[in-house]
Symmetry: C2
Subunit: 295 residues, 2 copies
């Protein structure tokens, strides 16, 4: 590959995702001629410098994006408006601004109005992550074989969309274009609601009487443990996701709660047929996943 996709790529936020992009760009090549890493946290900046995963480390987002033809916001979505306001005056003519946020309508709402007309805004969301966070948690293979969803607002420049799609393809992802509102509904059920449930049940268990709580930990292998794994994820990131996909998340939670109450009623009144039918539907879904090789 003669020419990298971006001459200078600025990453704002070097946590799990940002540091994985930096590592993957290095490992795979053809992505960035120069990588500028920016984080407001001094300890993160020092660690990134030690790890040697960027060509330059900056504290100031405006300095980081100056002269960059690619900028990716990798901070929690609640910080997007502040970062966008800070970088807007420094963005180069024709630069592509993208992000990795888990909520896409909020990103359009918070970022698009602040950007100058001479840049292209192409939001994206790699469906990849682990329950670990911080620059040491990242790894070059994080995006391989995972989906990345691109959610451009209508009227976005085709070349800019294609460049962001190509970026994620070169990082190892499968790419799909999706309407931002649809993205938020799909993610509410596949990701945001499962995380809300996992966080909640950990709290429910933690509120139990002392003796029982100890035994919850001891005997967690019976199902509870699977919930705690996804409950270990980054608190600031998830707080922002919940607050920024409010409508879709509350709708999915309301649907789930209705269904759980219907199940509770069947348990209370001994409606074996209803319970068995619901369980069988879960199995069908699991089998579909296995056929789709997603399991």
């Amino acid at each position: 590959m003669a020419e990298p996709l971006f001459r200078r790529l600025a990453l704002i936020g070097l946590g799990l995702i940002g540091s994985s992009i930096a590592r993957a760009a290095r490992a795979r090549g053809g992505i960035a001629g120069e990588i500028v890493a920016c984080d407001r946290n001094r300890a993160v900046r020092e660690r990134v410098a030690e790890l040697g995963i960027a060509d330059r480390v900056e504290a100031d987002p405006a300095r980081a994006v100056a002269g960059a033809d690619g900028v990716i916001l990798c901070v929690p979505v609640g910080a997007f408006a502040d970062v966008a306001a800070t970088i807007a005056p420094a963005l180069a003519e024709g630069a592509i601004v993208s992000d990795v946020g888990s909520t896409k309508q909020s990103v359009l709402r918070d970022v698009a109005p602040l950007l100058p007309p001479h840049v292209h805004f192409v939001p994206a969301h790699p469906l990849a992550g682990t329950e670990h966070s911080g620059p040491d948690a990242g790894f070059a293979e994080l995006f391989e074989g995972r989906w990345s969803l691109i959610t451009p607002p209508s009227g976005t420049d085709r070349n800019a969309i294609e460049k962001v799609a190509e970026l994620w393809a070169r990082l190892g992802s499968m790419v799909e274009i999706m309407e931002p509102g649809h993205h938020d509904r799909v993610l509410a059920i596949v990701s945001h609601l499962p995380h809300l449930i996992a966080f909640t049940i950990c709290g429910t268990a933690d509120d139990l009487a002392d003796e029982t709580r100890q035994q919850v930990l001891k005997f967690s292998a019976s199902g509870f443990r699977d919930f705690t794994r996804i409950a270990a994820s980054d608190p600031e990131m998830w707080r922002d996701v919940f607050l920024n996909n409010r409508e879709a998340l509350l709708e999915m939670l309301a649907r789930f709660t209705e269904d759980a109450q219907a199940m509770a009623r069947a348990v209370r009144w001994g409606d074996a047929g209803y319970i068995e039918d619901k369980i069988r539907r879960g199995r069908v879904i699991r089998r579909s996943l296995i056929e789709l090789k997603q399991a």
Copy 2:
């Protein structure tokens, strides 16, 4: 080991757990001089004979337990009363009757009154399993390093309790004695509620509009997939568990629902501090599990 723990061990029900006991008894030795396998399902009996994991295969539970000094019920807990009534007249003097059911108060309620006074009833529950079922799903290592809980009613013969504890130790388990009501509360939160939630969210997803449902499957890796794994478990077994641990399960579900509603309210009103606090508690629990090496 000169003498096996049981001269003749009868297993009633050869699904995942029953067939794993048979395999482990063979593989480890010192457990049973003779293994009699009984299943009401002809296809299961034929498969067990083909697998060669029992010395004798019987269709009639009364014939299977005749002359056995150990009997383990490995059918769904809803079938326990029927099986107990069938085997009671055929049980040998001094035989130990145990089980592997996931609900222990119901087992005491359903089985104890039907057994003759000349046998010992020592209920047990190995906290082991997979999402697969049937005689082909079993394997000899299933119980290794997993807890098995023994829940004898008060007044149970000490030697009989020790023999059942020794059985599970020889099958590879760690063993703990627990009061049946306490068992049911602990299992309600660590196992039964997580399964009910997993089955329910699969149904909630399945009810979504066609296009979204397809994408739920496609993008399931973002959290939903972890729920579908535990939702793949045996429908009859779980139907019976829910119906036979009704009180504790409904109480834990009510607590969870209150907590989920409080989270919903915090999301609706933008209470970032509340949300972050709940997420942090989930992480603390996860960390405790890792320290306890349960994760």
